[in-house]
Symmetry: C2
Subunit: 294 residues, 2 copies
């Protein structure tokens, strides 16, 4: 028996096609959707990710501005840049790329992103509204976890999900989204006493730690669904997840691949959020974005 592969390809293509069509409508209405990516790092995997967003945005008909402040940018400069972009009426979405220069915290700086333009749900206000069940853009990665499970018709209500990782960008918002869908949710982390005992009690395991191969067969109940959010660069220039797929494949009921699982859905949702944010600024385009914040 081998775990079913929960690919993100089909879903991400569907979201991107829908987004491209909404973007074209908006552009025709005089509101070309525009995403600003603020960069303050020379990190290579970050640069790779930014290029892939920029390419995907272009294909979807979204203008993507890369605002590179350099790896030595001061926190104050980053904050001012985010505030300026938030105040610029032609910009609809603003994201701040990580890692950040020495000591700066994403949660703190992201407070400078206006709520309506916070398309990657990075600000504390977005997180709080998400947790409170009020409309907000969720962090795209966290939303991708739930969207991928939905796409593959995996029931969430009443099931027990273990989220491994408690970051503000993935673990915590994913926990809130799963709770909102009536899952019972356990959040585990580096200080969890017996990780395998906790995760193997769950129907669904979401691995979002950033440590290659952390989740092995012993962490997974036979037949459980495993979502791998990790994207860890290998020495050979490839990408591996937080799940040791070779070990887990024979035990899990279903597993998201890396690459090709959560990743492409994340990018697609980021673009969808940008278009939805643009739709809200223009009454002329009221027809687009009627489905809420995602």
């Amino acid at each position: 028996m081998s775990a079913a592969v929960l690919s993100g390809k089909e879903l991400s293509e569907a979201i991107r096609a829908e987004t491209a069509s909404e973007a074209a409508e908006l552009a025709a209405a005089g509101i070309p959707p525009r995403l600003a990516v603020v960069i303050a790092t020379a990190d290579e995997s970050s640069a790779w990710y930014v290029r892939s967003i920029a390419r995907a945005a272009e294909k979807a008909g979204i203008v993507c501005d890369l605002v590179d402040l350099g790896p030595d940018a001061a926190a104050g400069t980053i904050r001012e840049t985010l505030a300026e972009l938030s105040g610029d009426p032609v910009v609809h979405g603003v994201i701040l790329q990580t890692p950040l220069p020495g000591g700066a915290a994403l949660e703190d700086l992201a407070s400078a992103i206006a709520f309506e333009k916070d398309v990657d749900g990075a600000s504390p206000l977005s997180l709080g509204r998400l947790a409170a069940g009020l409309p907000a853009f969720a962090p795209a990665t966290a939303e991708a976890v739930v969207a991928l499970l939905d796409h593959h018709a995996i029931e969430l209500s009443g099931r027990h999900a273990a989220v491994v990782g408690r970051s503000t960008v993935v673990g915590k918002p994913a926990a809130h989204l799963l709770l909102d869908r009536n899952a019972t949710v356990t959040v585990c982390h580096s200080r969890t006493a017996d990780l395998a005992a906790v995760t193997s009690a769950a129907d669904i395991v979401v691995a979002a730690v950033g440590r290659a191969g952390l989740i092995t067969a012993e962490h997974v109940r036979p037949g459980a669904v495993v979502v791998d959010v990790g994207t860890n660069p290998t020495a050979e220039g490839g990408l591996v997840g937080d799940v040791d797929a070779g070990s887990v494949r024979g035990r899990a009921g279903a597993l998201t691949p890396v690459p090709g699982g959560v990743g492409p859905v994340t990018t697609a949702l980021l673009l969808r959020h940008t278009v939805r944010a643009a739709a809200r600024t223009g009454g002329a385009a009221a027809r687009v974005g009627r489905e809420g914040s995602g």
Copy 2:
């Protein structure tokens, strides 16, 4: 064997004494701490709670204004009142009492409370900052859970806590506070498939549902610590928790009483937050409140 009683009496008295002394210093410096309680309900247990806050505030040297808008107040009126009080320099803390008139959501209305005066952590921004690990006032009830466990020297790090209830005012913020203290946290709720199986796997059970007697011996692992957040009025005019104490007492290692457990600590923390908020507005009183938001 009978469970140890985790009383809130000693801790609440200590916090109230410290708060009274800080309030006196502030008053002497020309900044009498002031709390505004906005009421839009004729609910009796709410009225009882408000009176107890007002009495406790008075004893601690905090001015307490009851702003009663009546049970038919429109959401817009409540919002405007919260915004006005937020803008009033002599008011340091603002809380909105529940229940609210037909359909109004606390999370939504509480957005109108200025972050610095949100002494009961009711606004989405406070919740998001709490979840992101940034300074914020936590909802007093959620903070009281952790404060009471700390006071009784109960270890949290690496232990498994089950929070029963996912409200924005208690369950969710308590989960974040426990996570922040390195507990592994499971959030359960009305849709949890087998509640007793989930809670009896935990070292610490926090019951915050508002249903008298929901938690019985079968929900508790022998020796576990049980925190009862429930305050359910009885037909006889008394108060009972969410825990069936008679059933749980013989099995749990420790149990918080109702009344006399989380409740008095909650009130004391609300007063402490108000004094801390007042201390921050006055440079003259910088010595007070140096310990952060609590």
